[in-house]
Assembly symmetry: C2
Homo-oligomer: 246 residues x 2
């Protein structure tokens, strides 16, 4: 299982991903799912992946090696795509290329071609954007109305995002709320686990201000988890009891 969330607010972007993979409950491992390309002043691109690990790793490798743009004939990678929209199209083409190579055999084995991705970043001259790419290679983009996108095990961590994230939420709070969303997910699904990778990209700085891995036992995150649990318990205690006379 996997949980990744991207949050795009006025001040910038936060992307958070867990690192746990499992091929059955008896085969758990740690793999990086969040990759950041940072060329300060020129481009900063973050990609997070969920789904079948063989598929998502192949997609990332396809993009790294480069794929031909059918319109221009040029070999594109994230190092040279001229815009974030073109980067999303490139990632979608990589999804389709891996489907072309592996899809039929996976279907023969009754395995789903299961892969979704978050793509975010800013390229000089363009704006900071956040996309979710589906397993068909098509994609949607976050907007001010719904400024976050999730992939993987998204339900446990959604209530806090629904209530607390607005486009005007400041960047530090967006990171904090994203970490609470990750905590809620890890608490209820053992397939999502530490360490946690995160990236923070301020708008128009074209630089990843923070790329960090939270290891188990890191004091801030441990404290956040404890405080959030205590606050939830406290929150319901402050609500009056039902008036139904039981």
């Amino acid at each position: 299982m996997t949980y990744c969330v991207g949050i795009l607010v006025r001040e910038g972007l936060v992307m958070i991903a867990d690192t746990r993979t499992n091929a059955g409950l008896d085969n758990i491992a740690t793999f990086r799912k969040l990759n950041v390309i940072n060329r300060p002043g020129e481009r900063v691109i973050a990609v997070a992946t969920a789904g079948n690990l063989a598929i998502s790793q192949s997609i990332v490798s396809q993009v790294t090696e480069g794929l031909e743009n059918p319109e221009t004939g040029e070999i594109e990678t994230f190092e040279n795509t001229p815009s974030m929209f073109k980067a999303a199209q490139l990632l979608g083409r990589a999804v389709r290329e891996v489907y072309r190579l592996d899809g039929r055999m996976l279907e023969q084995k009754n395995l789903a071609f299961d892969c979704t991705m978050l793509l975010a970043g800013q390229i000089k001259g363009g704006r900071l954007r956040l996309f979710m790419i589906y397993s068909a290679g098509n994609f949607i983009e976050a907007t001010a109305d719904t400024p976050y996108l999730q992939i993987g095990e998204h339900k446990y961590g959604k209530p806090i995002l629904d209530r607390a994230i607005k486009f005007d939420t400041d960047l530090q709070d967006a990171l904090k709320i994203g970490l609470i969303s990750m905590d809620s997910t890890m608490r209820s699904n053992l397939g999502v686990g530490m360490p946690i990778d995160l990236a923070v990209i301020p708008r128009d700085k074209i630089d990843a201000e923070l790329v960090h891995r939270i290891e188990p036992g890191e004091p801030y995150f441990h404290d956040l988890r404890e405080r959030w649990s205590a606050a939830l318990r406290q929150a319901h205690q402050n609500i009056p009891r039902p008036p139904y006379g039981i």
Copy 2:
């Protein structure tokens, strides 16, 4: 979609169910999913259903009309089952009977035989018990370690249960926390909706102390939703910001 939760604490049992059904987003209706049989001093049984409405209604009708117990040859209903375990077996047989009647045709139409149920109550001479019956007609029982069971859209409402429900939680708090869990689910899934049916059965009283429908706009539930949203926002504001220097 549906969300139902049963919570079994030391003092008694709470069962809560929404009433929204949908055959596609364009076909929404209200159906009672929580049924209570109350014979004070003799037996009290509550059943909540999730899944395909045609299946779950047929199962309830089968039990109401009675099914032969293959061991005794007698016709059993919830009015005469001698124990809650026997009531769970009866409900499981009803599931299998409906599968025998409808399962093959549903499979031909590529429709899943999708039905899960909560069954709870107490019969004179026995103890208060809570079961979850699967679409195969088998079942599990809640215990003091995990004193709640959910059916339907269970993920959004699980984090609060995981953190706040213990076997020693008192009955009024269990009801309140169950309503918060329902609120979290309705907030994130439009397929779960008002009105909400609830039943409260104190242990060893063999009487449903409360069977109630919360209609839209009921002041207590409206207030609970407002307070819970405000408390969640407050809760994250009381957590320090990340120390990562952004």
